[in-house]
Amino acid sequence: MQLGELEKMVLEYLWDQGPADAKRVHTHFEKLRGGSLNTIQSTLDRLFKKGILAREKQSHAYQYRCAVNRDQFIGRLINDITDDFSIGGKNPLLAAFASMSSSLDREQLDELERLIEKSRAEPHKE
């Protein structure tokens, strides 16, 4: 999922400050970097459409809150990154410690465990 600079800042703000409407977000960012209310409204709308924010109408304005917390978001991001190369090294931009490992079932892992234990025991047999 691609996020623009302002989207990242708005998301960060909502994680820190909790739910807010466009006006409140705009008041905060107006002091920091300027920009119009419309820009903030469309940024919030884009984040909502991307599924990162949830919203509900309160009187005439939408109240936005984060649909995922920071940990969940980063977890999802890491999973996206690592998933890309877990399927046959599809993503060549990364190298992972246990890449391509999640495809083994428990029995196969147990079998490997036995193999390692056998190897560990071998020098003592001599």
Binding site: M1, Q2, L3, K8, L11, E12, R70, D71, F73, I74, G75, L77, I78, N79, D80, I81, T82, D83, D84, F85, S86, I87, G88, G89, N91, P92, L93, L94, A95, A96, F97, A98, S99, M100, S101, S102, S103, L104, D105, R106, Q108, L109, L112, E113, L115, I116, S119, R120
Partner: protein, 323 residues
């Protein structure tokens, strides 16, 4: 009709493309049967052989250009070669011919491939920059980013300035020794700039048929992982510890992944890769030396066959369709 230097350039490219495609077809056929033969070599030799497989078609293409255009340019000195292979219209290129079609097709494919790879690189870069932006991480003394998150992951990313990312979720469940193994393994990837190697390799592998390209990428990835395992092994000196760590991290990944995801990725090679890494560690490096003589014979044979094929295709086309 295009003449002179531009005509020569376009002919050179056409010869290169034709030879490249012949070489890719031949190497793909050989690779589909012979990739297992590479397992008789240690990971370092295997990685070099795999590089050779993906670079060879381009080398063969360049050699074919010299062999086919050479006799036309140096007619008196290379008359013997001219009697075997030649490109009799080195300075004349007709766009509305099979040469033109070949050139257009290749340019289209090349463009599509470049865009695909560039987009993929951008996508990953964007995700990584988001990770840098949002994650709360601390930097360990060896430059490793320790990310404060539960999911057990460790990976190295970044083309020109690779960085190692390890999650606290992984560190907290591993023993100190196992964590050292993970750190050393990832440090090896960082020092060797493996993400860049993998990316460059995958660019060249992209010109092969999809199934062969995937196999080549997987084999190359495996050899890089095995080299990183060897690096960690040299430092910790206990092959069972390294093997056990790989296995433990695999178990953690399995537990963390949903069952649907497991079924999606349960294909042959991926299941084998972990086994191959552990067996490689436990059994030790294969001792087979680099097959230099065999390779030289193979390269000469490839150049000869591809150049003769280009000459044959060229003359057959002209005889059948008169361009």
């Amino acid at each position: 009709m295009i003449y002179n230097a531009l005509g020569l350039t376009l002919n050179v490219i056409t010869i290169g493309i034709t030879s490249l495609w012949v070489a890719i077809v031949l190497i793909s056929v050989l690779t589909s049967f012979g990739l297992r033969y590479f397992n008789s070599f240690n990971a370092g030799i295997r990685a070099r052989l795999l590089w050779l497989v993906v670079i060879l078609p381009w080398g063969v293409a360049v050699a074919s250009i010299f062999l086919l255009i050479g006799p036309e340019i140096f007619q008196y000195r290379l008359d013997w070669l001219r009697s075997i292979v030649h490109w009799h219209h080195a300075y004349t290129f007709q766009i509305a011919s099979w040469h033109g079609v070949l050139l257009m097709t290749f340019s289209g494919t090349f463009l599509a491939v470049s865009i695909t790879k560039f987009t993929a690189a951008l996508k990953t870069s964007s995700r990584l920059s988001q990770l840098q932006y949002f994650s709360v991480s601390e930097e360990l003394n060896d430059g490793i980013q320790l990310i404060d998150i539960e999911s057990p992951q460790a990976f190295t990313a970044g083309l020109f300035y690779p960085r190692v990312y390890i999650t606290k979720g992984l560190r907290d469940v591993l023993s100190e020794d196992s964590f050292t193994v993970v750190r050393q393994h990832e440090t090896a990837h960082r020092l060797r700039r493996d993400p860049l190697r993998k990316y460059a390799f995958s660019l060249l592998a992209l010109f092969f048929p999809k199934s062969i390209g995937t196999k080549l990428n997987q084999a190359f990835s495996l050899s890089l992982e095995q080299l990183a395992d060897q690096y960690a092994l040299k430092l910790v000196g206990d092959k069972t510890l390294v093997s056990k760590t790989i296995l433990n991290v695999a178990r953690l990944n399995t537990r963390h992944n949903s069952s649907t995801k497991l079924s999606n990725v349960a294909c042959g090679f991926t299941s084998n890769s972990l086994q191959l890494r552990i067996r490689y560690l436990l059994d030790g490096d294969p001792v087979m030396p680099f097959p230099l003589a065999k390779l030289l014979v193979f390269i000469v044979a490839m150049i000869s066959v591809c150049t003769l094929s280009v000459d044959f295709i060229h003359h057959s086309m002209e005889r059948l369709f008169s361009h």
